[in-house]
Structure formats: C-alpha cells, structure tokens
Symmetry: C2
Subunit: 286 residues, 2 copies
C-alpha cells in the first residue's frame, strides 16, 4: 500500500453496496484517510469497526474543508442535493466524483451551482450486485471492472488523470472516457432498456398457473434484474427519459417485425432476423 500523493483525506458519502465496496477497495490499496458519511449511523459504526473507513462524521460540513476528494455513492437526486447543501464547505481545489448510472442531467445540474474552485468529475462503475446495502459490500466488485468517466470542459486534464489513477488502484480496467451525453445515450441501450424489458417480461404472461416447472435458463437469466430497486430506477429512467423512449421505440419496431413474421408464417424473414441476431451477438466482446 503506497502513500497516495494526490489525496490525503477522502470522504465517502453513502455506505451502501457501491459506497461500502468503494471504501473497502480504496482503503485496501491506498494509504489514505477515509471518512465515511451516511444517514444510517449503524452502517457508519459497522464500517468503522470493520476498519473499512478510518473514521466517520455525522456533520459533513465540519469535515469537508479538509477533504481533497469526495466520492458520492448516492442516488442521482441525492447526489445533487448533497453537493448543493454543502457547496460552501468544500476545500478549494477539491475534486468530487459520483457513481450514478446517469450523467448528463446530473452534471448539468451540479455545474449550475458548483463553485469555480471545485471540480466535479462524473464516473460510472460497471459494477454491482443484486443485493443492496453495506451488508452486501464487497471490495472485489471493482476488481477488473469496467469504469466510465465523463469529464467536461470544466475539468482539468491533471485532475482527470488523478481520478483515473485512483480508480486503477481498486483494480478497475478499461477506463473509458466519453461525454455525459454520449454516456446516457449508450447506457439507455445497454442498461436502461434491458431493465425495462426484464420488468415487462416478468409482468406479462399472466397465465394463472405456476410457471416454475417450465422455466429454463433463458427465462431465469432474462428476468434476473426484474427484481428491481424501484426507488433508484425511477430516478435513472426519468433523468434519461428522451434516450430511453427512443431505444424502447426502436426495440418495439423489432419485436413487432418478428411478431408480424410469425403471424404471417414468413420463414424466410424469421431466418433472416435470427441470422442477424446470431451474428450481432457473436460480434459483441463480453
């Protein structure tokens, strides 16, 4: 564990699954002082007793003036509110990063009121688990995980590189840089649409029979994320509504085309669509 020359005091805000795991992975790989903050005092106490954080605070305003980096692992709206409520307390030159699954609206909102001498850099780890809360935190979720960062013209190259260097200490690989707009457009397809589809799948097919005996791997895999965290996901989807409505419409065109081919018994058309799907799936690097 080497001394981190860039960050001495780091506040992790929100010790849920992501924040808790992040604190673990950061502390294990960096000689930094991690201060935890969470509305849930029990989570803070447990994190401290398990040595996941160096210490915790219940009044962030008192500690923020000493923090070089603030890692926020809250829902999108709460992320914005935390920064807004504490905007006068950040140390000059501090860097704030978040972990939310949408970027465009959130970053625009934050930059509207953020002080000129503090930088916000959006980050989105492609990591997670079905479970939530500090009890499920696991340092290994960042090992070999893909990480997206979405800097803007307001971010200094030097600060972006400091953040990338820190994420790499946790084991993150494939750290990709895209604009917040591009991030939300792509994620609308690769993540938001899949969740909408899984929910639609589990909610349809009301057959009044127990389908458990008829379930094979595809149904199990495709409905896994339907056990959705509604409070979080309504925020993500509404914040990215234009992109999502657009990919849902594209998806609807394709399923409607397949439905038409099935109902018209058009074997040639079905085979053509299936062969395209086969090729597209094989092309994706996973």
């Amino acid at each position: 564990v080497g001394v981190n020359m860039n960050f001495k005091n780091v506040m992790v805000v929100g010790l849920g699954l992501i924040g808790g795991s992040l604190a673990m992975a950061l502390k294990e790989n960096n000689d930094i002082n991690i201060i935890g903050f969470d509305r849930n005092l029990d989570a803070l106490k447990e994190a401290k007793s398990r040595n996941v954080i160096s210490d915790y605070c219940t009044e962030p305003a008192q500690v923020l003036p000493e923090c070089d980096l603030i890692v926020i692992a809250l829902y999108p709206n709460d992320t914005v509110e935390f920064i807004r409520n504490n905007v006068n307390h950040f140390k000059s030159g501090a860097i704030i990063i978040d972990t939310a699954g949408i970027k465009n609206e959130l970053i625009r909102d934050v930059q509207d009121f953020l002080r000129e001498d503090v930088e916000f850099i959006g980050t989105h780890p492609m990591a997670g688990k079905a479970e939530t809360g500090f009890k499920s935190a696991d340092r290994s979720i960042f090992s070999k995980c893909k990480y997206i960062i979405t800097p803007t013209a307001r971010n200094k190259e030097e600060n972006i590189n400091k953040v990338i260097k820190l994420l790499k200490t946790m084991g993150a690989v494939d750290i990709v840089t895209v604009s917040p707009e591009e991030h939300d457009k792509i994620i609308a397809y690769t993540s938001h649409l899949t969740h909408v589809v899984a929910v639609s799948l589990i909610c349809s097919g009301k057959l009044n029979v127990d389908v458990s005996d008829f379930i094979a791997g595809s149904f199990k895999d495709m409905t896994r994320v339907a056990a959705i965290n509604g409070a979080l996901w309504q925020e993500l989807l509404i914040s990215n509504s234009e992109n999502i409505v657009s990919v849902i419409e594209d998806f609807e065109k394709h399923i409607s085309m397949i439905k038409k081919a099935i109902s018209e018994q058009d074997r040639t058309k079905l085979l053509e669509i299936f062969n395209e799907a086969h090729t597209l799936r094989k092309e994706i690097k996973l």
Copy 2:
C-alpha cells in the same frame, strides 16, 4: 446399472446435442441396447467408438422392427417426417418419444397417421446448452433437469409410467405432466417470448459505436440466447404462432405502459410497476 425390463432395444434418432446427451445418459444408467441413427455418418461412427451407442444403423427400416422404444431428437418437422417415412416399420407395441420444444401441432400431425398399435408420447426436457452437435453432447445436462411430458387420450397409463421411469434413470426430476395445448401456451411465455425478446434487444440500439465497454451483467445475460439457432427456432415459433403472438402482444402492452410513464415523468406509476415486478420475480421458484 440394472436390466431395464421395459425396453431392450432403443433407437436414438438424431445424435446432436440432445440426442447425443440422451444416448449417453440412457446407456450409462440402463442395461439396454442403444442403436443410433443420424444423417451424419461421422457422428454415428464417433458415438460408436466412444461407446455412447451400442451400434448404429444407416437404414432404420431394417432395425425398427426390433425396437421397443424410439427416442427422436430432431427438429419438429423432421420428427414428424421420420415417423411418417417409417410408419410401417415400427414393432407392434413400440413407444415413440420426441424431445421437441413444441408439442400441440406436432402430436396432432403424428396421430393423424400413426398406427393404432404404436404409441407416441411427447416429451420436452428443460435441458440444453448454447452449443450444438454431438461434439457438445454431455450426459450431465439431464442430471436434475426438469422434464415435461404431454400425453394424450391415445396413451396408456402403463406406457406413460414406463417412460417416466426411464427418464428418471437419467437423473430427471420434476417430471410434470400437462396437455400438449397447455404446454405450448406456457412455453410460449417462459421460453419462446424470451428468445424473441433477446433477438429484438440485440437487433435494436444501432448506435454506430462499439458498446462493449458499456456492457454490464444484465445485457450479457439478456442477450445470451440471441445467438439463436435460426433454422430450429423459426420452426418452433411458427408451429406455436397463435400463443406466441398473444404473449408478444401482452408484453408489448407492458413495455408501452412503462414507456408512457417514463415519457410523462410519472414517478408514482413507475414505482408501482417496478414494485410489482420485484414481487413477481421474488415469487418465482427457480
């Protein structure tokens, strides 16, 4: 390995993934004589040399008069054609079972021309793998697998029980009996719809960017079956077209409702749908 009192000579027709795996699992657990038949002579020779079958034939008509059980592991249309072409060669009292993923139309077709002294019993193992062909055959796919059988009024109780007993020797559990109509209706939801959705998912979202860096678990899981075997699946879907069109329409209603809630920023409605999905997914026994 005990002597099977019900079946002495068993023909396995089609030594692909399912037929090859079935032959392995049957031979390992029963003292029966398994004769393989396949259009592909190389597969037959390899199966014989690996002792997966006792012997093979290239002219089923010559061997069928000695067979007590015929297990057909072909595509649905080829299953019907094999029985039609050999209808005069079956031993009196023989039982024929299949493994196709649709049952209603297939069984109706077969019963239209099958001799009165031969029984066809539809079966559908909930087992498989992404790979195809004898090279991927694996006796363990039937271990603890769910198995659906779809007898009709034409099947004797005694013969249904003989088949169930045999399937159990391979390790099949949860052997469920439903009518062919009910089978196709439920499978339209739990299997056919999921494949249609996976294909639609991979075919939409044409973003002209490499999305690989933005893919997390949900996208990977939900598009796994999109690398579909088009030749087989166009048969399955067209044979079950009415049921599938009906579940696709139900699915379309749900995704359209979510789209509407997102575009109207209706947080209450989204939360209600997501909470229902969460409950439904948790209720399913997997």
